[in-house]
């Protein structure tokens, strides 16, 4: 299909990219200048940029500590995600009684708004003795339905014949999974890593409820606290936004090839 001119596409996409990126630029600019929070009209290019807002943020909350907490929690969540979702996804490629029921169960689980589950979730976590701990923070995120279906789809994409052949060879289920399935599910793994990370990293309400001690706070809580003090009155707030967003963006940029391939590897093969 080479019959159409390219430049309109480029124009359109450049325009869209511009719209997508302008907020980033604006926040970045403000985070190094503090301009245009009260001054009008705003200057489009930063004047006299300086890093001091970042310094302020760094000392405003125990940033390193909160950062570490966020990293640990996200790491736990991601690891558990990949394993559990892969297992569940694999199971769902098999035919077994009550499969339909399980699928519908998963589907409807997606429809439960978290905000309404806070209290029971808290009590349960308490029962498990995990309050105010990394495990307690991460546990609700240990398995995510969307990712289960991503795995299922990419496993489905594996030709049956391959599996049957392996089975005829007498490979055990485990070997089939590790030797045959996993290598073919790289993309799904990348997808799961990224999504799992994003969802856990950005989680705000649950840490708020389940953490008690100051040492267990995560970055989003730091951001909320910061907001409650500084409101929009300082470039530091936007510096904070950048510092909070950077890790997610970095991870995405690093893994995006696998990620996009992951989704394109047939996340929605129907």
């Amino acid at each position: 299909m080479h019959r159409y001119p390219r430049w309109p596409i480029h124009v359109a996409l450049t325009g869209v990219s511009f719209v997508m990126l302008i907020p980033f630029y604006w926040v970045l600019k403000t985070s190094v200048t503090g301009e245009n929070i009260f001054a009008y009209p705003p200057s489009v290019l930063p004047k006299a940029p300086h890093p001091f807002y970042y310094v302020d943020v760094w000392y405003y909350i125990p940033f390193a500590r909160y950062f570490l907490n966020s990293v640990v929690v996200s790491a736990l969540a991601v690891a558990a995600n990949v394993i559990f979702n892969a297992m569940a996804g694999y199971a769902l490629t098999r035919d077994f009684p009550a499969k339909r029921f399980v699928l519908l169960l998963f589907l409807s689980c997606m429809m439960v708004p978290f905000q309404a589950t806070i209290i029971p979730a808290y009590l349960i976590t308490g029962r498990l003795g995990l309050l105010d701990s990394y495990w307690g923070l991460a546990l609700p995120q240990f398995s995510t339905i969307v990712c289960i279906f991503v795995f299922k789809a990419s496993f489905d994409a594996v030709p049956r014949s391959l599996i049957d052949a392996a089975r005829i060879d007498g490979l055990s289920e485990w070997r089939i999974i590790w030797r045959v399935m996993m290598p073919l599910a790289k993309g799904a793994i990348a997808t799961n890593v990224i999504l799992g990370f994003i969802w856990s990293w950005n989680n705000f309400l649950w840490p708020l409820i389940v953490t008690r001690s100051a040492e267990m706070q995560t970055l989003p809580l730091g951001l909320a606290r910061f907001l409650s003090y500084q409101e929009d009155t300082t470039g530091a707030l936007y510096a904070f936004c950048i510092m909070v967003l950077a890790p997610g963006i970095l991870l995405f940029l690093m893994a995006q090839k696998e990620f996009i391939r992951g989704l394109t590897s047939g996340a929605t093969k129907g």
Partner: protein, 417 residues
Amino acid sequence: MKRRTVLQAGLAGAATLTLPRASRAQAPRKLSYLTWNISDQEQLFKEEFADFRKANPGVEIEWLDKKGTELPAFFQTQLAAGTPPDVVDLQGTIWVEYAANGALLDLTPYLKKEPEVAKLFNQDYLASWQYQGKNYMLPFYIAKTLLYYNKTMFKEAGLAGPPQTFDDLLGYAQKMAKGEKTGFLTLNFDWLYWPLFKMNGIELLTPDLKKAAFNTPAAASVLERLAKATDGGAINKISWTGRWVEPNGAFAGNTVGMLHAHSSSYFFVKGQGSWINESTLGVAQAPGYWATPTNHGFGISKSTKNPDLAWAFIKHLTSTQWATRFSQSRKLLTGNIAADRAGLDYLRKDDALGAQVLQTQLEHTDRFTGNWPLPFDAQLKDAFYPEIQNAVLGRKSAKAALTDAERAVNRVVSRNS
């Protein structure tokens, strides 16, 4: 099975059994202390804790601080789990609900036993924490609404001093409104706008607090005038839509004639408006001296294992010594008479205007309004304000809005009695 027990635990709100960390928090000689978004005082708190431990050896203090908007969520979850903090700092009238439902300890016996404690505080403020004749809180820090006015704009409009009546207020606002400039702005969260109605003799509920009493021709005409003034730009729209930053920010922008807000607004506005000094910013009581308090107080959870220790702790926190330090470092009033005198003296040297602002907080404290001791205050607010908002922003006629508000309010009242 598990599901069952968990459900029961949840519904009974008594899952204390296996909450290791939390239950440790309840162990003897340990106090957990929840504050409302004031982590900037960490330094001071640390000293206070240390000092308290000297007097009470072996006591461990767990300090929690949550942002205001999320504190209720945190506190209520803790209540549900049966592990509320022993000492909690509550703002506004939230405490009434907790008190009415038996979450807070009645401090009256202690105050009776140690009459000298009550004497430390401004009686009007202290009384604003009474529910059904019982006192549930000691003052942490106090504030009430007042009227800031932009002297420069007043001069331009040929106005001498602050308005003395509601008519003045609207008239002055009208005089100052032109183009970008607006005449009047009020904060509207909680009941901070209520003095506008009270100064017109409007009551929210009947004296027995059992029925709505505000659906009157008088109220309707007040609403209509407010709506008209808002539409004409005399009253800044942000009055009815903004939350905290927007109104204060707008006033700091030097284009608003009057700001009806409480004392803490001053420090926010001053931080933003370089124009602010004694010759440009005026400070006065609202017409009729009516004001809505918005205080922070210390309460004690009923479920605490060491009520006496907790009481000793809040006595310590509100003692003249520490209240003074707090008042000076945070530039506010604590309700502790001696401490506030010292704090004001200290502030006068550094920021006379600020001292002037705080001074207003101690005058006419017999004219509090918008602080009804109602266990369902939050529901009332949510039933009432949106309708008022509809009226003043001209989305409904005043009469219709009041009628709807009346219906909503009466439903709330009847649901809760």
